[in-house]
C-alpha cells in the first residue's frame, strides 16, 4: 500500500506540475504537501498572484486544505492564520473537498472558496 501511495503522489504531483511548473513537493508530518509559488488565479474577477500551499490530507479539522500567502479581502469566510511547513499562511473556512480527488481538481475546488 505504501508503494501505491508513493505512485499516486508522484502522478498527482506530475499533473499539478504540468499545470504550474514551479510547483514544489514538500512534506509536512511525513505527508506530501504542494507549494505553488506565485500561483495566478482569479478571485471575484480580480487577478491574484501569490504562493499557495495545497495540503491533500486532513489538517486542522478539514478533510483537505488550501493555504494562501495572503488573506483576500471580501472573499472567503472566517479566515484564520496557520503555520505549515515552517511558514505562516492564511486559509478561509472551506471544507468537504475530498482527499481522493486528483490534486489539480482539489486545488480548483478549494479556489471556489474565493471565486
Amino acid at each position: 500500500m505504501r508503494g501505491l501511495f508513493v505512485s499516486d503522489a508522484a502522478n498527482n504531483f506530475a499533473s499539478i506540475a504540468a499545470m504550474h511548473p514551479e510547483a514544489v513537493l514538500l512534506k509536512e508530518g511525513g505527508q506530501p504537501v504542494i507549494l505553488l509559488p506565485a500561483f495566478r488565479f482569479m478571485a471575484g474577477d480580480q487577478p491574484h498572484v501569490m504562493d499557495l500551499l495545497l495540503v491533500p490530507f486532513a489538517h486542522s479539522g478539514y478533510i483537505t486544505r488550501l493555504f494562501f500567502e495572503r488573506k483576500i479581502e471580501d472573499r472567503g469566510a472566517n479566515w484564520n492564520q496557520h503555520r505549515v511547513v515552517e511558514r505562516n499562511w492564511w486559509a478561509p473556512s472551506w471544507n468537504h473537498v475530498p482527499e481522493a480527488m486528483p490534486w489539480t481538481k482539489m486545488l480548483s475546488a478549494h479556489l471556489r472558496a474565493v471565486t
Binding site: R40, F41, A77, M101, R112
Partner: protein, 234 residues
C-alpha cells in the same frame, strides 16, 4: 547617394553569390512571372523595370521577393543578380509602397490589397496553416475569399497558426481545429460533466473559470481544467 548593391535571401541573413549566368551567358530574373535577361549581372532597378516592359520605369514600383519578406527596390538601386534572393520581382504601376509583417518578417508591396491565396503564395504559407491578422482582442482569420487591406494607416501585422492545434484537458493532449468556441462547445468537446465549471490558464497565466455564456479563441498549447462543484464554508 551611393548605389546599394543588393541581393538578400532575407533581411536577416547574409546573401550568398550562388546564381550564375544562364546557358546564353546572360543573367536573369523573373518579373511578374516573365523571364528578363541582362548581360550585366548588376542592373539598376529602372533597368529591370524597363526590360520587363514596365515603362516609364518611374511610374512603377519594383518589389523584390525574398524567402521571408519582400522589399522595394529604388530606381537607381543596383541589384546583383548573382546573389540569392534575386530570383523573382514584381512590378506594380503606382508610386506607393504598402507594408505588413508576417511572423515578424517585413514585407513591402505595390498595391493596397492582397487576396488571401496570393498572400499565401507570396509568404510561402502551407495549406495546413491559417493566416491570422492581429487585432486587439479579436484576431481575424483570413479565409480563401478574403483580401488583406493594406490601405489603412499603420502596418498590418499577421501571423500563421496551425489549422489543427493541440490543447490540454486535465493535462491530456487533444487535437482540435483552431478557432473561437463557446463555453458550451468546449464543455461538450471535453465531455465536462453538467454542473462542473471549465477553467483555463489565460494569456497572463491565471487559472480562470470560463463564463457560461462566454467565448474563447482557443490557441495552441492552451490548458483546460474542470472544476468539481464541491466544498463549502463550514
Amino acid at each position: 547617394m551611393e548605389n546599394v548593391i543588393t541581393g538578400g535571401a532575407s533581411h536577416n541573413t547574409q546573401p550568398q553569390a550562388s546564381r550564375g549566368a544562364g546557358l546564353d551567358g546572360q543573367f536573369f530574373t523573373l518579373v511578374n512571372g516573365t523571364k528578363v535577361s541582362f548581360k550585366d549581372p548588376t542592373p539598376k532597378g529602372d533597368h529591370i523595370l524597363d526590360k520587363a516592359g514596365a515603362k516609364p520605369a518611374g511610374d512603377y514600383v519594383l518589389i523584390q521577393l525574398l524567402r521571408h519578406g519582400s522589399r522595394s527596390v529604388g530606381l537607381d538601386e543596383t541589384v546583383d543578380l548573382r546573389m540569392e534572393g534575386t530570383e523573382e520581382f514584381r512590378a506594380f504601376k503606382g508610386d506607393r509602397i504598402f507594408r505588413f509583417t508576417l511572423n515578424g518578417h517585413s514585407y513591402e508591396w505595390g498595391v493596397n490589397a492582397i487576396p488571401e491565396p496570393e498572400l499565401r503564395l507570396l509568404c510561402h504559407v502551407h495549406s495546413d496553416e491559417a493566416l491570422v491578422v492581429e487585432r486587439d482582442g479579436t484576431d481575424i482569420d483570413l479565409g480563401p475569399n478574403d483580401v488583406l487591406d493594406l490601405d489603412k494607416a499603420g502596418t498590418e501585422h499577421l501571423y500563421t497558426e496551425k489549422r489543427l492545434i493541440t490543447v490540454f484537458f486535465e493535462n491530456d493532449p487533444r487535437e482540435i481545429p483552431r478557432g473561437t468556441y463557446s463555453t458550451q462547445q468546449l464543455k461538450q468537446l471535453f465531455a465536462v460533466q453538467e454542473g462542473y465549471v471549465l477553467e483555463y490558464i489565460n494569456n497572463e497565466g491565471h487559472l480562470m473559470p470560463l463564463k457560461p455564456e462566454g467565448k474563447l479563441r482557443v490557441k495552441d498549447g492552451m490548458k483546460f481544467f474542470e472544476q468539481v462543484p464541491c466544498g463549502g464554508s463550514s
